[in-house]
Symmetry: none
Subunit: 254 residues, 2 copies
């Protein structure tokens, strides 16, 4: 048996223009390597319909796994979803679960869940959602193509939640603790939790929305009980310094 192969497709004019430096290829390359998945190729392409469709098809045929980043936001240049659907001959549908997550996310904020934002609930028919613990708008999987957001922190959080399901992945328990506090304030708590729970690792992903900010802390380990205890200790520690913290069920978003 040989290791599964993979390719990365970065969809983004902002990278090609030089305005933004790509961080996703390097991060994903490391993650895939650690997981025994062989990254064979990475491409950065423009936000052009034909380019996206042709590239995704080619990569999907050629490699076991494809990961894309970028172009699933609310604006006119976010065309990835439509292109992926077309590449696989599928319709785009308004996904009820995705919509529910977005509605929940925007409730009690000053942000209107307008038509542009509703577009983020549109997913190719039959696709499986990828959780987004930071800003709710999900990624998705169609056949062997995994579609992530382009913002590095969101892509990383999406990948963390997904990686156990990839071929070659070790079955880890992975719990997200949503904390209504900045990551810098809870750095010591996170470090202590990691040090006192053998085999558990603690990663933090800060998020911001208008009037609110917080940190999604991902607690993961091979032993389900130890990992759950670690997540609980972390939540208790954050509450002890006066901030709200909640251990989420897998798939649940804030």
């Amino acid at each position: 048996m040989s290791n599964p192969t993979a390719a990365i497709v970065i969809i983004g004019d902002e990278i090609l223009s030089g305005r933004t430096k790509d961080k996703n290829i390097g991060w994903l390359a490391e993650q895939l390597g650690a997981q025994g998945i062989q990254l064979r190729e990475a491409r950065i392409i423009a936000d052009i319909r034909e380019e996206i469709i042709e590239t995704v098809k080619h990569m999907s045929d050629r490699y076991d796994l494809v990961f894309t980043s970028g172009g699933i936001g609310p604006t006119h240049d976010d065309i990835t979803t439509a292109c992926i659907a077309e590449a696989f001959g599928r319709k785009v549908i308004r996904h009820p679960e995705a919509e529910a997550r977005l509605i929940k996310h925007y409730t009690n904020t000053d942000i209107e869940f307008n038509e542009a934002r509703q577009k983020m609930a549109d997913i190719p028919e039959g696709a499986e959602l990828i959780d987004n613990p930071l800003s709710a708008a999900p990624g998705f999987i169609v056949e062997n193509v995994h579609v992530f957001a382009g913002v590095p922190s969101i892509l990383q959080a999406m990948f963390e939640g997904l990686k156990d399901r990839l071929p070659g992945g070790v079955a880890m328990t992975r719990l997200t603790v949503q904390c209504a506090i900045g990551e810098g304030t809870i750095a010591t708590i996170m470090e202590t939790v990691q040090q006192t729970h053998e085999g558990v690792s603690v990663g933090s992903y800060p998020w911001f929305k208008p009037g609110q900010f917080g940190t999604a802390v991902v607690v993961s380990g091979l032993d389900a009980e130890v990992t759950a205890a670690a997540a609980q200790m972390l939540a208790d520690g954050v509450r002890a310094i006066g901030a709200n913290a909640q251990v989420m069920a897998p798939g649940e978003t804030a």
Copy 2:
């Protein structure tokens, strides 16, 4: 009139394995953009003979300029030169000028100019040398393909010495409009601006920090006046819905 197009090919297993983070794409993208050369695609491929030949041929046919990095050093896995020669049906020859530069470079050092290092004087027949002011071993140009070393400092020095000879395009006008509002709220404004200004493209980059958020909207085009008018319309539109917006001077940051 359209600007010359370009593609980058990074040849390097070390990038795909995640061991090394690529710095060349971001740096070259910025340089090409500043020069009015339109970077259309970038690929990171493995050190595999067929991959290199096929990719270079494809890119050379498709774009005005191709830049490669990596694989021209002294070791067994440095196969770029042979592959480029084969892609263009040329022989590899020991280049007298390249050899003279290397001999001079290694004279009075403790480093032996051994067989492996002599290989760095092998160049496809008829190629033009690209100077390497750091470590002597030259890059080269075959047809529209520019072959650089992979080490970022060397690649940068090679490019600096070469860039005045590249076909100059018109530098794009690129204006950033800083908007104190989420991108989803101004999606329609951005789309309208793009549609009503021919040759102008509008991209949006949301940012968040504690207590604040906003969107940097980048308005770019070849025609400076049309682009400026588009940026102004966008700023006016954002102000009309009650949010602050400011057209930044090039290079100015918020």
